[in-house]
């Protein structure tokens, strides 16, 4: 397998390396970075054109933000309403406090069905709870049906984006995977031919496997309906052909009313893929006699979400409708792709969602994986102020660190105490400047930049250059200028 595709990725935040370490192999992989940059440039250009076409874009964002915030503020009531209406329409609602419970509920349902195989619509929530490996370990084979997910599943790769999970894989890498795993040696790397190969590969599975698993884009409290937004029709296949449908959804996915979709649907496709509307959106309400699955289960997953709800600033994280516009616009994601984030949720939203889902026990490095430029906030269709949450989580991380380490051995603490003492008095400050100028001269290159510093200084210089100190400080220049002026006056 080619190098870019086989870059190992650990997406379990409990096991993943901190971002600055995880990012190193990616930065040394030009093919992967090229694939990511290409895909993102295409989406961004399309998005920009179609967003510009909507004269009421900002009004839509304001409405979407308010609807999502309102839904979260009243989440208990709306969840209960959803449960009641969905059950009245013939669905069965389950509640899962954590990933483990969700996995067990799904396995029990599959065992009831005597299912040894299951077809899946792309769902990031199922990736979050690491469902596929669990099912496999328990004798159930899960078949992904979204094209990108098939590429990843057959290539044994990890997703690097929440909307286009295989955007880090290029056509020749896809060809390699399909040729090997589908036994199609003659396959070319034409995307059309590759797509047709996937169509043929899955057709029989759709027609023969009677159990399906999906995620949900929206749960409608008013009617108990569930909506799935997709492009390929694999969703429609899974939603109509099987006998049993199992949907897993985070508890935050609720919208108060059916009508609220008029706002979300206008924002979602434009933000996600740069289309006026995605090819297919399906909505179903419990079970409909004579049409589609006759057994329907919804699993409402908490897995750390209710603890995010608790905090005023952080609550907005849960407004997310998973469009991925924030990662497409992020200058950090553009360079690194998704794997360095060590989570199925990469990019800016991942940087705030993942550590919070982990209740700040893991992934604490992610809030620092940002330049705080604010581009993510600007594009977010539901106006999540990601930089604000990033800063809040950084503060929490620093406080945690402070509690954990002995103060007088903490370089950050010592450094700041010294800085505090130096900056407190002008004489000390000038002396430090003078010393620094001499000391840093050793490391300053001919171009006036410092590219490497020893010891603690390397933490800065390993990822960025530092401008060498100027020959003269402003103070010195000012003082000289006054002396000059005085001389001239005499």
């Amino acid at each position: 397998m080619s190098q870019a595709a086989s870059t190992h990725a650990e997406l379990d935040p409990r096991k993943a390396l901190p971002f600055p370490k995880a990012v190193l192999p990616v930065l040394r992989n030009p093919q992967l970075r090229k694939n990511v940059a290409h895909a993102i440039d295409v989406i961004q250009a399309k998005r920009a054109r179609l967003v510009a076409e909507k004269s009421d874009w900002q009004d839509l964002r304001a409405a979407a933000s308010a609807i999502r915030a309102h839904a979260l503020e009243n989440l208990g009531a709306y969840l209960e309403q959803f449960e009641e209406r969905c059950a009245a329409a013939g669905g069965t609602v389950h509640w899962a406090a954590d990933a483990d419970e969700a996995r067990r509920i799904i396995l029990d349902l599959l065992r009831e069905e005597k299912a040894s195989e299951v077809i899946k619509i792309k769902t990031m929530t199922s990736a979050e709870i690491q469902l596929n490996p669990y099912l496999e370990a328990n004798g159930v084979q899960a078949f992904e049906t979204d094209l990108a997910e098939i590429i990843l599943q057959l290539g044994e790769l990890e997703p690097s984006h929440i909307v286009v999970p295989a955007l880090h894989v290029n056509r020749s890498q896809v060809r390699e995977i399909f040729a090997q795993r589908m036994g199609l040696k003659e396959l070319s790397d034409d995307p059309k031919e590759l797509t047709n190969a996937a169509r043929a590969f899955l057709r029989q599975k759709f027609l023969s496997i009677p159990t399906a698993i999906s995620g949900a884009n929206f749960l409608i409290a008013e009617t108990g309906a569930v909506a799935v937004v997709e492009s390929e029709g694999n969703g429609r296949m899974c939603l109509t052909l099987p006998r049993t449908m199992i949907t897993i959804a985070g508890i935050e996915k609720v919208l108060p009313r059916f009508q609220d979709m008029e706002v979300m649907l206008q924002l979602l496709a434009r933000s996600a893929t740069g289309e006026r509307m995605n090819p297919y959106t399906s909505l179903w309400t419990g079970v409909t006699s004579g049409d589609g699955p006759q057994l329907f289960h919804v699993i409402l997953l908490d897995n750390g979400r209710s603890s995010i709800l608790n905090k005023t600033k952080e609550r907005q994280t849960l407004k997310c409708i998973r469009c991925a516009a924030c990662m497409n616009t992020c200058p950090v994601y553009r360079q690194t792709g998704g794997h360095a984030y060590g989570s199925v949720y990469p990019g800016p939203i991942g940087a705030i969602l993942t550590p919070q889902l982990m209740q700040m026990h893991y992934a604490q490095s992610l809030p620092f994986a940002s330049s705080l430029c604010g581009a993510c906030f600007e594009v977010c269709p539901v106006k999540i102020n990601i930089p604000e949450v990033l800063l809040e989580l950084r503060a929490q991380g620093v406080n945690q660190e402070r509690e954990r380490t002995l103060r007088f051995f903490d370089p950050m603490y010592i450094g700041l105490r010294i800085a505090n003492w130096l900056f407190a008095e002008a004489g000390r400050f000038h002396a430090a400047q003078w010393l620094g100028r001499i000391g840093l001269k050793l490391f300053t290159g001919k171009d006036g930049w410092i590219h490497w510093l020893p010891s603690v200084g390397e933490k800065w210089t390993q990822t960025r250059d530092l401008r060498g100190l100027p020959k003269q400080s402003f103070h010195e220049w000012w003082a000289k200028r006054r002396i000059q002026a005085n001389k001239e006056a005499q």
Partner: protein, 239 residues
């Protein structure tokens, strides 16, 4: 079961205590909901003719094939489209008018057809419930004349009959017409597609690869915010 019940209680308790200061009584919640800002465009401004033109333009941008006709000439228009497709075997939902089943083709009416029979058909002809010009979207409510969901999914070629009077300009207009949300809805915007390989848009993955629309000019003068009429009412009326 006991474990599930306790998780339900635990999650709801935790959600409730987290939102204690901000959530309210049902009355306060309804009030807060009603006060949500909705300054986006809810009513279109285009004249009927321009609206229909936009609908057609947007459909064509998705690679859908669109032709226009009048109610009287609809059966002939269907016949012409079927002939042009080079296909012979078609399925239809049970509620479409007999006039749609053009002579010279092999028709199967979906009265509990087996999946294999639908899969074998080369095409499907259905009515529809609404067209949204702004995004080129056609909405199916899966009534008797639109068929169950699988019917318009398995055949590779889908012909949708859309009436001009069903076309609104904006998505919010569809929702405000849709006072009683149906149990099943499919919003279709162009044929099945993917861009998963290098963001190259490929038409046709699992759903129908060919989307065809006949737009029927049945305009009978302006109506004041009509309720969304179901597709069979419309088709019955046109005959």
């Amino acid at each position: 079961m006991i474990g599930m019940l306790s998780s339900r209680q635990r999650i709801l308790d935790s959600v409730r205590s987290a939102t204690e200061g901000v959530s309210g009584s049902p009355a306060r919640r309804a009030e807060a909901y009603a006060a949500l800002p909705r300054d986006y465009i809810r009513h279109g401004k285009l004249r009927a003719k321009v609206r229909i033109k936009l609908m057609i333009e947007r459909l064509r941008e998705y690679d859908a094939e669109v032709t226009e006709t009048t109610p009287a000439e609809l059966p002939a228009a269907i016949q012409a489209r079927l002939a042009a497709s080079g296909r012979h075997s078609f399925v239809v939902p049970p509620g479409v008018p007999d006039e749609w089943l053009a002579a010279g083709f092999d028709w199967k009416i979906d009265r509990n057809l087996a999946i294999a029979e639908i899969e074998e058909a080369e095409g499907v002809v259905t009515a529809s419930s609404c067209g949204i010009a702004d995004s080129g979207t056609i909405v199916l409510h899966h009534s008797e004349s639109e068929g169950r969901r699988v019917l318009s999914l398995l055949p590779d070629w889908h012909l949708i009959i859309l009436r001009a009077s069903q076309v609104v300009e904006t998505l919010p207009e569809y929702f405000s017409r849709c006072k009683e949300p149906p149990e099943l809805i499919t919003w279709i915007s162009g044929p099945s597609a993917t861009a998963d390989i290098e963001m190259t848009r490929i038409k046709g993955v699992h759903g129908p690869r060919f989307l065809n629309v006949i737009l029927v000019h049945d305009e009978v003068g302006p109506k004041k915010d009509p309720e969304l009429r179901t597709a069979e009412n419309n088709s019955a009326k046109a005959e």
